[in-house]
Amino acid sequence: MQLMSERITRDEVAHVADLARLALSSDELDRFTTQLSDVLEHAADVEALDLSDVEPMAHPLPLVNVLRPDAIVRSVDRDAVLAEAPDVEEDQFRVPTILGDQP
């Protein structure tokens, strides 16, 4: 491996892949470690700039407080939605039991 960058380790890439439920092969882990390091290298270039005069922004658009009134709008038809589901039982989405718990 040329330039095994210090920006991100192979283990970190494996961990992130696991969180994202991606099954990566050993070759893919190597490849993405290099690619993600390049991305982070680019981010580091931006970080190196003196931005002390720039206000942090959470959104690129000059918009705030986009709100809607608290009014009920008719929802979609249940049968139409459930018809798209892989499995249905008692008008609910049927899913495999998930190991572990919700956060």
Binding site: V16, L19, H59, N65, D70, V73, S75, E89, D91, V95
Partner: protein
């Protein structure tokens, strides 16, 4: 070698989720209703279908800020964030919440017991769908599955996070009760633990007494009543202490309260915040409330339960903790009005606390209550009669005279009793003389005579006092 016993103390932080009682969901127009048919209040947005976009419900933001201000929080400009995780209750595979810049921060709640709990933040987020596990029948190697109802997905929530300053199961319960009282007073949620519109997670750890360190905590979920909250904290406290005393350490993990077994059970190891890969929600723009909006919210806030306790306690002349129950039941205005009319404070408070412990006490007016209490304190009604009259007023309303007439209570005042006693002394001169000579048995004779004349309506204690006065 000293064999000293290590003393431990518990450190508790609570995360209270409160569903806001808006008409529609947080980011879409689906109805926010508990108990509807499964999956009837769903749309592309709360199902996370491609191409859908969230738009924030204005009423949810106002209610969240109202709750924040009621808890003394600073309301700031805020942004939404995505919390990424895979679980079927969140169809988008992320929950929209607030992370780095929450709407409300740094508040506090004064409790009925006089303590104060600091609040770190009260942020807005969307609720998840409801999963129901359907167990296997044991034949298909214990296979089970889950059913998901997305009616609750996207319902607006405020998560109120206390600082880890709660020091006992009792204080934790008092805090949740107080929070519930605040939430109900400002009408932002129906706050029902049994229906899940108020949910409590408890972060519990222990440490040696005198230390100020924060040790590894476990987060207990699935607590659905105040009673379970107390039991779960006590169980976890014991478990942590036992682990340390056995030379082990608790893991940082989520645990589930098992109501039937009366214990907590292993959940998954708690992920680091980093594992949720929070980032600013690109589909939503920041919230920036104006000072005028915040001032209008402050203007609209009713007096806090803490203030109401102080006000009533001062009016009655007791300690604020002594009026906590009456304030929690919302009977403080009734008490203040009755005392304002001239009823005795302590007696009014006692009668409300003991006789108005009912679901619906709306029929009794402050005038009527003040009247009963005053009749009791001036001896026109006995204690027992006063209780009956209050029960009658709660049941049917009306005036004290009407209830007294209905119940057939002959209101006997001290003046009438004095007249009766005079007549009895004339009729029974010998008995009176013997009583005056110290034959105490004869007191019972005179009391009995008056009771007979009044059909048992006279207050025995008052009769005894009158007799004692005449003998002096």
């Amino acid at each position: 070698m000293t064999d000293s016993v290590q003393e431990w103390e518990v450190v508790i932080g609570l995360e209270v989720h409160c569903e806001l009682n808006t008409a529609s969901k947080l980011f879409c127009g689906c109805a926010n209703v508990f108990g509807d048919e499964p999956n009837t209040n769903i749309c592309p947005t709360c199902l996370g279908l491609p191409g859908s976009l969230p738009v924030v419900n204005e009423a949810a933001v106002t209610k969240a800020m109202t709750l924040g201000r009621a808890l003394g929080c600073t309301v700031s400009n805020s942004i939404f964030a995505r919390k990424n995780y895979f679980y079927p209750d969140m169809p988008k595979d992320y929950q929209v919440t607030q992370y780095e810049e929450p709407t409300n921060s740094d508040g506090e709640l004064a409790l009925g017991d006089g303590s104060i709990v600091q609040i770190e933040r009260a942020h807005i987020e969307e609720d998840t769908g409801k999963t129901t596990h359907v167990g296997g029948d044991g034949r298909i190697h214990g296979a089970g599955h889950s059913l998901v109802d997305y009616n609750r997905a996207g319902v607006p929530l405020v998560e109120i996070v206390s600082r880890p300053v709660i020091r006992s199961a009792r204080q934790a319960k008092t805090y949740v009760e107080e929070l519930r009282a605040v939430v109900l007073a400002i009408d932002v949620s129906d706050a029902r633990m049994d229906q899940g519109s108020m949910r409590v997670d408890a972060n519990v750890s222990v440490r040696p007494v005198g230390s100020d360190e924060l040790r590894t905590r476990s987060e207990v979920k699935n607590i659905n009543s105040l009673r379970s909250l107390g039991l779960a904290i006590e169980y976890e406290t014991r478990r942590h202490i036992d682990l340390y005393e056995a030379g082990e350490s608790p893991l940082q993990q989520t645990r589930h309260w098992d109501e039937a077994a009366g214990r907590t059970r292993d959940g998954r190891s708690k992920e680091d915040a980093d594992d949720y890969r929070y980032f600013a929600e690109p589909d939503l723009v920041p919230l920036e409330p104006t000072q005028a909006q915040i001032a209008a919210i402050d203007e609209s806030l009713p007096p806090s339960p803490a203030l109401r306790r102080t006000r009533l306690a001062e009016a009655v002349g007791v300690d604020p903790a002594d009026v906590a129950i009456v304030v929690m039941r919302g009977q403080d205005q009734l008490a203040l009005d009755a005392v304002g009319i001239g009823a005795d404070g302590a007696k009014t408070l006692a009668r409300i606390e003991n006789e108005l412990a009912v679901e619906d006490w709306s029929a009794i007016t402050a005038d009527a209550l003040a009247d009963v209490v005053t009749r009791e304190t001036t001896g026109k009604l006995s204690a027992t009669q006063a209780k009956h009259v209050i029960a009658g007023l709660v049941e049917a309303g009306g005036t004290v005279d009407e209830v007294v007439a209905t119940l057939g209570i002959a209101s006997v005042d001290s003046g009438e009793l004095v007249g009766m006693l005079d007549a009895l002394i004339e009729q029974h001169e010998d008995e009176w003389a013997r009583l005056a000579d110290g034959d105490r048995k004869l007191q019972g004779f005179f009391v009995g005579q008056i009771m007979q004349l009044t059909n048992g309506q006279a207050d025995g204690k008052i009769v005894q006092t009158l007799i004692a006065e005449r003998l002096r």
